[in-house]
């Protein structure tokens, strides 16, 4: 038997979407968090900061 059934492009797109949505959510959260690096420091009342 040599019948060739090509994988549907919709199926391939759906497969990538299935893993892409949670991955995208994770990346969004991380990018959002990393933006804090570029925010100007907020003046805080003097207190001992943890060094580690």
């Amino acid at each position: 038997m040599n019948s060739e059934t090509k994988s549907s492009p919709v199926l391939i797109f759906a497969a990538w979407l299935f893993v892409g949505i949670p991955a995208g959510w994770g990346v969004y959260n991380t990018v959002h968090n990393s933006m804090k690096l570029f925010q100007p420091p907020v003046a805080q009342p003097a207190q001992a900061l943890p060094t580690k």
């Binding site: 994770g26 990018v31 968090n33 943890p50």
Partner: protein, 462 residues
């Protein structure tokens, strides 16, 4: 067992017309799930306050005790990858992925019992040992399958999967935080329920990979692709079995390459947050440092895809040559970007980002390097054994960083000066990796399998 016969290797052979781009999402489903291990630290504080709820009290577990759960899981990752790699080659990727999903989910369920009964040893067995075996099986399960599907771009294919492992923490961390917030009550921090839900969610997510993965039929190759008539001397057309590969000098040179690259990367990861605060006192506070750590994880993940894809064009040896030569210069320069010298936060962040991208790239490019050296025949099993370099680096890196730093501080060095010593030691480690990579030569003919002529598309396992 007939019930589980759908997991058999011969039931996963792709039909003609199957699109190979369905395989990377299957691999990603496994790696995005097991990558959660890097987010385990979000449970550290809640696990240390299960009795006291708002603070640790007598009877609560100490954070130093809880830290062993992660360490145990990583050690088991390396051990199980080394032990079960050969079985995986004969059992096929679907069975290995299924076993990985069962172990990983079971790890969460057993840990649920450990939290409910407040027995830490049960969590050691659950997440640490059983879950750790799931990590090892899952990590190596898609590697040889991807290489067989993408003989034209093995770096890109394995990079895609291993990028998922880097990205897994980005999902696992916010997911755990949101679930614990959802289940939290006045008398319960919600950890036990979170373990149950995460075990179930990850199991279902991994099942997508289990049912989607396929191996190519014997002799399959991509349309319009023919292997190069004059391949690079460093890309073999022969095969070496895992036990023989283990005794070749090339295996141990690559072991040193991976170990040095990972140890140096840990030098940044281990101290990223305090380092940026100490080097830029008054400019960078704890919140911005948290953002810096997040940025590094993005570059760690992106580097896995970027560098492994680049390696398809420039070659694996040249890729590691870049890691070690550029890395050595950057590690040497890094301390001089601090407040006492150049005082450039931008330069410091940029250098760390490049270094972390090369750390991730080192993980993602090694499977393709192994395939170039030993052929595709038992590449997952060989990869599994090589991961013991990662376990070693996981112990060596933090030890080197912490003890060197403590020694420096105890002998009167200021904080910035202590970082300088540590980073320069990391640069030295990269020199060792550079030499080891430089010494890599093609595997000698005496190690080849007798009938291992070029079968790049596929080769049936014994």
């Amino acid at each position: 067992m007939p019930l589980l016969s759908f997991l058999d290797r011969d039931r996963t052979i792709a039909h003609p017309g199957f699109n190979r781009w369905l395989v990377p999402p299957a691999a990603l489903a496994i790696h995005l799930a097991i990558g959660q291990v890097y987010a385990f630290s979000v449970f550290k504080i809640p696990l240390s306050q299960l009795i006291g709820i708002t603070k640790s009290v007598d009877g609560d577990w100490k954070q130093s005790q809880i830290a062993w759960i992660f360490s145990l899981a990583i050690v088991m990752l390396g051990l199980s990858a080394a032990l079960f790699g050969k079985w995986l080659e004969s059992a096929g990727p679907r069975k290995a992925m299924f076993a990985s999903a069962v172990c990983f989910a079971l790890g969460f369920y057993i840990s649920h019992v450990g939290v409910v009964t407040h027995q830490l040893w049960i969590i050691f067995i659950g997440y640490g040992i059983v879950g750790g075996i799931g990590l090892g099986l899952g990590y190596i399960s898609p590697v040889s399958t991807l290489i067989k599907w993408f003989p034209d771009r093995p770096g890109l294919a394995t990079g895609l999967a291993i990028m998922g492992f880097g990205g897994g923490a980005m999902i696992g961390s916010p997911l755990a935080v949101k679930l614990m917030a959802h289940f939290k009550t006045g008398t319960d921090l919600g950890v036990a329920h979170t373990f149950l839900v995460m075990g179930t969610l990850y199991f279902l997510f991994m099942m997508f990979g289990v049912f989607t993965v396929r191996v190519p039929a014997e002799g399959w190759k991509p349309a319009n692709w023919t292997p190069s008539a004059k391949p690079s001397a460093l890309i073999t057309t022969h095969s070496v079995d895992v036990n023989t590969a283990f005794i070749t000098p090339q295996f141990w040179m690559l072991w040193v390459v991976l170990c040095m690259n990972v140890t140096a990367g840990i030098g940044i990861i281990e101290q990223a947050s305090p380092m940026i605060q100490d080097l830029f006192k008054g400019t960078i506070g704890p919140v911005a440092a948290g953002g810096f750590v997040g940025l590094l994880s993005l570059f760690n993940m992106g580097g896995r895809f970027f560098w492994s894809s680049v390696s398809d064009y420039i070659g694996r040896k040249a890729t590691y040559f870049t890691f070690f030569s550029l890395g050595c210069i950057l590690y040497f320069l890094l301390p001089y970007t601090g407040g006492d010298h150049m005082n450039s936060v931008v330069l410091f962040v940029a250098i760390c980002a490049i270094l972390l991208s090369m750390y991730g790239g080192g993980f993602a490019t090694i499977p393709a390097y192994l395939r170039d050296m030993f052929g595709v025949y038992q590449v997952s099993a060989i990869h599994g054994r090589l991961l013991t370099a990662w376990s070693t680096a996981g112990v060596l890196g933090p030890l080197l960083v912490n003890y060197t730093r403590e020694y420096q501080l105890a002998h009167g060095a200021d904080k910035a000066g202590a970082y300088q010593t540590v980073l320069h030691i990391m640069a030295g480690l990269l020199v060792v990796g550079f030499i080891s990579n430089l010494m890599v030569r093609p595997v000698a003919q005496k190690y080849w399998l007798p009938d291992s002529s070029a079968k790049i598309g596929n080769k049936t396992e014994k």
